[in-house]
């Protein structure tokens, strides 16, 4: 089992375990850190797939920016003594688990039975090609996402600021 498979297994496990930890841990701080780890593992998988640029962007945006954002979110909402006590919707928990479990089973079954042809050597996309595509084929989408980001920025500020009463 060559090196690539080994690394894939390692990072996949990290990603899955940290995802589970987000759900399972008690303290909110630990859960956010688990989130960071899972994002990091996903970035590693991108590297495995030869998409360095996406890997880099993933690290910068997810592991960096969004995790910090969540930390702020967590701090703002006085994370220390927030104990929710027993969750009254026990049945909903189980139902949720069973439902999602079935969904997962469906997906895996579908993935396993789907006979995707193996494309031989992997395609390595470099930043330069992505750049060309962004400014070429997807130029409108690119400008759209720009607008999206600015509006999100302004929106977030407007929503979150204290009403000037």
């Amino acid at each position: 089992m060559n090196a690539q498979m080994f690394f894939f297994i390692v990072f996949a496990l990290i990603a899955i375990i940290s995802a589970v930890l987000i759900m399972a841990l008690e303290r909110i701080a630990h859960r956010v850190v688990a989130m960071a780890f899972s994002f990091f593992a996903v970035a590693a998988i991108y590297f495995l797939l030869g998409a360095e640029f996406i890997g880099i962007v993933q690290i910068m945006v997810y592991v960096g920016a969004i995790t910090i954002l969540f930390v702020f979110g967590m701090m703002m909402t006085e994370h220390r003594n927030v104990g929710f006590g027993p969750d009254p919707r026990k049945t909903q928990q189980i139902l949720g688990f069973v439902g999602v479990g079935f969904l997962l089973a469906f997906m895996l079954y579908a993935i396993v039975t789907a006979d995707l042809p193996n494309s031989g050597e992997p395609y390595v996309g470099s930043a330069e090609i992505i750049g060309l595509e962004l400014y070429g084929h997807y130029f409108i989408a690119f400008i759209g996402s720009a607008f999206l980001l600015t509006s999100a920025l302004i929106g977030a500020v407007v929503i979150a600021r204290k009403e000037a009463d």
């Binding site: 919707r89 439902g99 079935f102 969904l103």
Partner: protein, 676 residues
């Protein structure tokens, strides 16, 4: 003389026969519009109109005696292929009826000018009288049975309006409605009869019906059903046995109305109908027997009730029913001329009796109980004499009209009918004589038993009291049935004298009295049965039966026996007045309450219908409507129930979506090959 002049012009008076009903119609329209303004003078317009009609009908009769039937018809409506026509026709029977109706109507108009003079709605009264005369004359002139039916119902409407003339009296309102409803039952029978006739014969005209009957296009059972249905119409209108209950109550109307409508003309319409459709009746023997027996039964039945009644107008009403029974008995036993002859004579002397009663009532200030009257012979000379003539005529004493026509009826019953019918006829003749003279003696002989005429406690009609009465008593079809009120003031108080009425009231009495005397001679045997020749010319109604001489003596004997019995009881007092009633109190009670028929009809027909309708209404509200409201509330309730599950928890929605998604995936997966 004038008859001759018109002849040269070649235009017979019969062509103008349509004017006869139009004159009263014109008076009706004038009075309807300008009635309130004319106040007193309305009577003159009414009288003028009727006088013209009477004059014209005399001319028409004179011309018709020689000539033959004149018909004039125009297209009224097209039904599919066959055309329904309307118009007018002057036959022998019509001409006679025209004279009877216009004469009696004219006389009643003159009488009511005096009788109704202090009533503030006199213009409405004369308008309705004009409308009634128009519809009665229209009925008589109808060339086909549909037009007869149209005027038949209009006559019913006028009787409704005139009986209910004093509408503020609850009894009058109830009586008017009852009269219209019960005659309506008969009318529906007649309607179905004429509809069947139209379907079988293809047209309403008498001529075509007669030919169809002759060539027996109709099957025997069909003829009998049609005849019986038409007879049902006659029973309704001429108040024969099952449907007679409305006539005594119709006395609530003013007396001139009773004289005109419920004595002479409208009630005779039933007999006229049978006369007009006589070939149809002749064609089915079962119908004839039914007609005969109903007539006989009604005659006897009504006579018994007249024996015990104490209201002057109700006695005359029962006597009318009884005399109509006689006419129908005559028609039932193939005595076509006998029945119609009696119709004519009866119209005159019954109108006379009613108007006489009217003038008596007018004199004693609108009280009608004969126990309060008496000794009027001295005070009201003309009325008493004319009333006596009328009573003698109806009893059938020799020279008077009643004798001739009743003798004819007895003859036809004896010859064509069976012995039982003849027996009933004789007994009824006897009872007629008895109750008529009971009435005569109690009202005109002895001393005046009525108290002071303008006594304050007298029963003046005040509306408020009457309204409370109806509120307490059960309002509805049977309002006004309580026992006749006994008048409070029965003790001897210096009364002021009832005086003879003005000329305008006594003149009609005299005219009718003369007619009651001479009317009989036109069909007298020794003058060669003129009326019979006139009526049966051109009609095959079989040979008219004529009784032997002994029959004449028998009928007079029976009449005299009745009169003497009454004389013995009520004048001389050999027999105590309540001799019979004490002997058989229960029978007396039975007769007094007209065999409890009103209550029976009430219990059998009126109340169950109301009960059923109330039940149906409840059912309608709860079941038929209930189902709809149920569906309505069902949808809204289920909507609310569903709403409870939306509790705002986002995550429950998420979960439901996931499960929904999976179901869809599962379905797609399961049927993935099916739709190919």
């Amino acid at each position: 003389m004038c008859h001759g002049i018109l002849k040269e012009k070649g235009v017979g008076m019969m062509h103008y026969a349509w004017l006869i009903p139009v004159f009263p119609l014109i008076t009706f329209l004038i009075l309807l519009v300008a009635g309130r303004v004319l106040k007193e003078k309305v009577a003159y317009i009414g009288i003028a109109g009727l006088a013209l009609s009477f004059l014209l009908s005399v001319l028409v009769l004179l011309e018709r005696i020689g000539g033959e039937t004149y018909t004039y018809v125009l297209n009224w409506m097209t039904v599919g292929e066959n055309v329904v026509t309307m118009g007018y026709e002057v036959t022998a029977l019509n001409a006679m009826m025209l004279i009877v109706v216009t004469l009696v109507s004219l006389v009643v108009h003159i009488f009511s000018k005096e009788y109704m003079k202090e009533d503030d709605r006199i213009h409405v009264f004369f308008a309705y009288l004009g409308l009634f005369s128009f519809s009665m004359l229209g009925l008589v002139l109808a060339p086909n049975i549909l037009q007869l039916f149209i005027f038949w119902e209009l006559v019913g409407l006028c009787s409704f309006l005139l009986v209910g003339f004093w509408y503020f009296k609850p009894e009058a309102a109830a009586a008017a409605k009852k009269a219209f409803l019960i005659t309506r039952i008969g009318d529906v029978g007649l309607l179905i009869g004429l509809v069947l006739l139209f379907n079988r014969v293809g047209s309403f005209n008498y001529a075509e019906i007669y030919t169809a009957v002759e060539m027996d296009q109709l099957s025997a059972p069909m003829i009998t059903t049609i005849a019986l249905l038409i007879f049902l119409g006659a029973v309704g209108k001429s108040a024969q046995f099952p449907l007679h209950v409305w006539l005594p109550d119709a006395m609530e109307g003013p007396t001139p109305v009773s004289a005109l409508i419920h004595a002479a003309t409208m009630v005779a319409a039933g007999v006229y109908l049978i006369g007009v459709m006589y070939p149809l009746f002749l064609a089915s023997s079962t119908a004839m027997t039914v007609v005969a027996y109903t007539g006989a039964l009604t005659a006897l039945f009504a006579a018994t009730m007249a024996l015990v009644n104490n209201d002057i107008k109700r006695i005359l009403a029962y006597s009318t029913i009884s005399q109509l029974g006689f006419m129908i008995l005559a028609l039932g036993t193939a005595g076509y001329v006998a029945g119609l002859f009696h119709l004519m004579t009866h119209a005159f002397f019954k109108a006379l009796l009613f108007l006489g009663a009217g003038s008596v009532i007018f004199a004693v200030h609108h009280r009608q109980d004969i126990r309060d009257m008496g000794g009027l012979w001295g005070k009201m000379k003309v009325t008493s004499v004319t009333f006596l003539i009328g009573s003698l005529a109806i009893a059938g004493i020799f020279p008077l009209a009643g004798f001739w026509s009743k003798e004819e009826i007895l003859a036809s019953t004896l010859i064509n009918g069976d012995g039982f019918l003849f027996l009933i006829a004789l007994v009824t003749a006897f009872l007629t004589a008895f109750y008529m003279f009971r009435l005569f003696f109690k009202t005109f002989t002895g001393e005046f038993k009525g108290g002071d005429l303008n006594d304050p406690t007298e029963e003046t009609f005040n509306e408020q009291a009457a309204w409370e009465a109806t509120q307490s008593a059960e309002v509805g079809l049977d309002a006004g049935y309580e026992e006749r009120k006994v008048y409070p003031n029965h003790q001897e108080v210096p009364e002021n004298e009832p005086r003879e009425n003005a000329g305008l009231m006594t003149f009609p009495l005299m005219v009718l009295a003369v007619l009651a005397v001479i009317a009989g001679f036109i069909n007298a045997p020794f003058l060669g049965h003129q009326l019979e020749a006139f009526l049966t010319a051109g009609l095959n109604v079989g040979t008219q039966p004529h009784g032997a001489l002994w029959l004449a003596f028998l009928s007079v004997a029976v009449a005299v026996a009745g009169i003497s019995l009454a004389w013995a009881m009520y004048v001389k007092g050999f027999i105590r007045e309540d001799f019979f009633s004490s002997k058989a109190p229960s029978i007396h009670k039975l007769f007094q309450n007209n065999y409890y028929l009103d209550d029976i009809y009430l219990a059998v027909f009126v109340r169950p219908t109301k009960e059923i309708s109330l039940l149906l209404w409840e059912m309608d509200k709860t079941i038929v409507d209930g189902v709809i409201t149920l569906i309505g509330s069902l949808t809204s309730r289920s909507g609310k129930a569903m709403g409870k599950h939306q509790d705002g928890q986002l995550q429950t929605y998420g979960l439901v979506t996931v499960f929904g998604g999976m179901v869809v995936i599962g379905l797609a997966f399961a049927v993935r090959g099916y739709f190919g």
